[in-house]
């Protein structure tokens, strides 16, 4: 009975995390299309939400990496998964509050690794998987997106440079319908799979699925719905607060940034690498900006991303480990997760109210 209650809390927490992931990331996915006026905000947000949903059904490689490639699923309990999720949510909340461009994906992996270390020791961590599937791709992807977008926009300017600007701008605005859609699809397929992987890990640890099992259809559909709903509702807030926070770029740069970001995320997803989609998209946007004018890029944001890279995995891991310790004070039953969830919900409500009173620090380079 207790284990079922814990599992239900874990699934609900994972889906809530997925919702916030979509909510957080709407800016990254639609900002470029809206800032170049390629799409009306309402249409861009609805379109991104729909393609996020469809993207979640495209692949299961990343979910397999999360469920079986980072921690030893045989040594994991639902309580560990719960503590890991709380570590990720708490770190996201802290970075949101202080305006740091954190990665939800790194926070999720860090939280689970930290809770696993605290509960089962270092033997339960698949360090080769963590380094090879998470840490190194996390370094490569934004750099790759920067280079692809930079080279792409240079070639674009070379090809269309002598044309009248009117048809070029109209053409690339139309092209952004395709590139923006691909980016939303790519975002949905990589980020929704992380939640699928976590729920699958919880189902394996509770004995509902065998080791190495793929996510069941209900897990895929619920993760897809949660991220799509998050994207949709996050969009309305973004439309209200857009103002000057979005990086200004022309339609060709927007097309190159979205197309390159989507290419990197889709290629990495196919290989099973759980990337930070935010860092990848930010890398592409900076590449497209730097290729035109080096000083046009907000290098401060790039610096914040590097700081967030360094901090997120260990910080979320520490919170995950601490949460596991606190949860265990109440024993192995459902009381620990119930108490911790209640405290977290109260904390989220308080933080949101306080932050909204002060004004949101959220920028287009924030999220997963």
């Amino acid at each position: 009975m207790d284990s079922d209650v814990i599992l239900i809390i874990v699934v609900a927490t994972a889906l809530a995390f997925d919702f916030t992931n979509g909510f957080h990331d709407t800016a990254n996915v639609v900002a470029t299309s809206i800032s170049t006026r390629a799409m009306a905000p309402r249409i861009a947000v609805g379109y991104a939400a729909l393609l996020n949903f469809l993207g979640a059904f495209l692949s299961l490689e990343v979910a397999a990496t999360i469920a079986n490639g980072i921690v030893d699923a045989d040594l994991i309990t639902p309580l560990i998964v719960f503590a890991g999720l709380i570590g990720a949510i708490a770190w996201n909340l802290i970075t949101w509050y202080f305006g740091l461009p954190s990665s939800s994906s790194h926070a999720l992996i860090g939280g689970v690794v930290g809770a696993t270390l605290a509960a089962a020791g270092p033997d339960a961590i698949i360090s080769d998987g963590l380094l090879g599937k998470v840490v190194i791709p996390a370094l490569v992807a934004p750099t790759l997106a920067f280079c692809v977008a930079g080279l792409g926009i240079l070639l674009v300017y070379r090809i269309v440079g002598r044309l009248h600007p009117g048809p070029v701008t109209r053409g690339f605005k139309a092209g952004q319908v395709i590139s923006g859609g691909l980016l939303a699809l790519a975002h949905g397929t990589n980020d929704a799979q992380k939640t699928m992987g976590i729920i699958t890990l919880a189902l394996i640890s509770s004995g509902h699925l065998g080791t190495g099992a793929d996510p069941p259809l209900w897990v895929i559909a619920s993760a897809a719905s949660a991220i799509a709903l998050g994207t949709y509702f996050g969009g309305w807030r973004i439309i209200k607060t857009m103002g000057s926070r979005i990086i200004k770029m022309d339609a060709a740069q927007g097309f190159a940034a979205q197309g390159s970001g989507a290419a990197v995320i889709l290629a990495a997803t196919h290989a099973g690498f759980p990337l930070s989609t935010t860092h990848t998209i930010s890398g592409a946007v900076m590449g497209a900006g730097a290729a035109k004018r080096f000083s046009a890029v907000r290098w401060g944001v790039a610096g914040n991303i590097v700081v967030a890279w360094i901090l997120t995995l260990p910080a979320a891991a520490a919170i995950g480990a601490l949460t596991y310790g606190i949860t265990r004070i109440f024993g192995e039953g459902a009381m620990g997760p119930i108490v911790v969830s209640s405290v977290l919900i109260a904390l989220i409500g308080w933080t949101f109210a306080r932050r909204l009173r002060q004004g949101s620090p959220i920028t287009a380079a924030e999220g997963a």
Partner: protein
């Protein structure tokens, strides 16, 4: 200690790198040719140069087909594994 080259699937990582370069830069270039076809074709039609206009619009159509083909191919590859 395990060498990094053994931990990281180098072939997977290299596949991601070349695929991203090919797809990202390829789509940008091909779509640019579609815009060249559209812009030059419109100019040629305005100047009553029918043959040139047709050639440019064919370039646009071929380039757009290639871009859409690349998108469909990417989705098929993603779903096939």
């Amino acid at each position: 200690m395990t060498p990094v080259a053994e931990i990281v699937s180098v072939s997977d990582l290299l596949n991601v790198v070349w695929t991203a370069f090919l797809a990202g830069i390829g789509v940008c270039m091909i779509f640019s040719f579609a815009i060249v076809g559209f812009a030059r074709g419109t100019d040629a039609r305005r100047e009553k140069a029918g043959g040139a206009a047709i050639a440019y619009f064919v370039l646009m159509a071929v380039a757009l087909t290639a871009v859409m083909g690349a998108v469909v191919f990417a989705v098929i590859v993603m779903t096939s594994k």
